[in-house]
């Protein structure tokens, strides 16, 4: 792959701090927070469903750091007035708070070697689980708000196809995640079917023997990466109008892919 996808001018990373200071700071702190997490993982001899209890907070730290830094990057394509408004700053603050609360719970659950999700062992855990669900919707709604803002912003300086791909990616991340993760959280667990003996894909950890609802959730949540990358490719492929058409097609295809993996899991079938 040696297709030149990057624009001639590399994006200015300093703008992460000026456009989205809280999200950028959060992403860095989550990344550095992996150091004590890995140290705990190295020391902890306990087992949680076949893995270290610390695997889950580690995964979420990576995921949420990537999410936060992605939002911080896309913030530059919002209208400056929106970005600097008091409402947006408070909203971002609430989102950062939700992510921090989510991580604190994951650390606590790992420390107790109990389930952070689907935990109904104790009324307190069940209550925390519901609260975390609300926080999860709040933190995901940041991508919807940003997507709509970029959707309406006519002055991003981006090619139309690329701008559309970023807006659609952000909006789809919210819509598809709320559907897939919302359904997932209402189930007793993320597997559909039996027997679960533990055969799983490396790194991702998805089941290779039964349906795994996390596949659709993962793809849904990465729409904000997948579509803009497709948008970059599409703007290189043809004229402006063609690129817009390709991006709309890509968005439809992406939604179809998420739907397909969702239905596949509901039917108890593994991805691979």
């Amino acid at each position: 792959m040696t297709i030149a996808l990057a624009s001639p001018a590399l994006p200015d990373l300093r703008r992460l701090w000026t456009d989205a200071p809280a999200l950028t700071l959060l992403a860095l702190i989550l990344t550095l927070g992996l150091i004590p997490l890995y140290a705990a993982m190295a020391l902890d001899l306990r087992d949680f469903h076949g893995n270290s209890p610390w695997l889950k907070p580690v995964k979420f730290h990576y995921a949420l750091a990537i999410y936060a830094i992605t939002l911080a990057f896309f913030a530059r394509f919002m209208p400056a007035a929106t970005r600097q408004s008091r409402l947006w700053r408070w909203f971002t603050g609430a989102v950062v708070f939700a992510i921090v609360a989510e991580c604190l719970w994951l650390w606590g659950a790992a420390s107790l070697n109990t389930a952070a999700h689907f935990n109904t062992d104790h009324p307190i855990f069940a209550a925390v689980y519901s609260l975390m669900g609300a926080f999860a919707v709040l933190l995901t709604s940041a991508s919807l708000a940003m997507g709509l803002s970029i959707w309406r912003n006519r002055a991003t300086g981006l090619p139309e196809g690329l701008r559309l791909s970023i807006a659609l990616g952000l909006i789809l991340t919210f819509v598809l995640t709320v559907i897939t993760a919302g359904y997932l959280s209402a189930q007793p667990g993320h597997f559909v079917g039996t027997p679960v003996t533990g055969a799983a894909l490396p790194i991702l950890g998805w089941s290779r023997e039964v349906g795994d609802l996390r596949v659709a959730h993962f793809l849904a949540t990465h729409a904000l990466h997948g579509l803009p990358i497709w948008g970059l490719i599409a703007t290189r492929m043809g004229d402006a109008r063609g690129a817009v058409t390709l991006v709309w097609g890509g968005a439809a295809a992406y939604a179809a892919l998420v739907t397909a993996t969702f239905i596949q899991a509901l039917n108890g079938l593994p991805l691979i």
Partner: protein
């Protein structure tokens, strides 16, 4: 002067809490907070520590040679109390250092409150949390210049 370690222990908690309260409110009076939490209270605790060690070290079991030795050492109430005062004094010093460093590098006080709470409860964990926070601000300063 009470000599019962349990009585001294009960007195040491509120004294340390006073220092942590001063640090939590340090933006109101940074210099006073530094004098209280970074000097006066650690000094008082250190005097008590030194006295406990001078009086009780000779008769205490164990030592520093192995974990078993240290565990034996801490079975002795006056020495265990000295160990506790050591924590209280040095955690406060670290807390005062955190408040000072945050002020000097422009880290908002609200962000160090969790680090202070963590240092109060689990000393080195709070120190580590602040190192992480400071590293993020250092990265920011390197990228866009010093914070306003």
């Amino acid at each position: 002067m009470p000599t019962d370690p349990h009585v001294l222990f009960a007195a040491s908690g509120p004294l340390a809490m006073l220092g942590w309260l001063a640090l939590a409110l340090s933006p109101l009076a940074p210099r006073a907070a530094q004098i209280v939490a970074g000097l006066a209270i650690p000094a008082i605790l250190s005097v008590a520590y030194a006295a406990l060690i001078l009086v009780h070290w000779a008769d205490a079991p164990g030592g520093f040679g192995s974990l078993a030795d240290v565990m034996a050492l801490f079975t002795d109430p006056p020495v265990a109390l000295a160990g506790w005062l050591h924590y209280l004094a040095f955690d406060l010093l670290i807390g005062a250092w955190i408040a000072r460093t945050a002020q000097a590098t422009g880290i908002p006080h609200l962000l160090i409150l969790p680090c202070l709470a963590l240092t109060f409860l689990f000393g080195p964990a709070g120190f580590l949390a602040f190192l992480i926070l400071r590293a993020a601000f250092t990265a920011r300063a390197r990228m866009i210049g010093t914070p306003q």
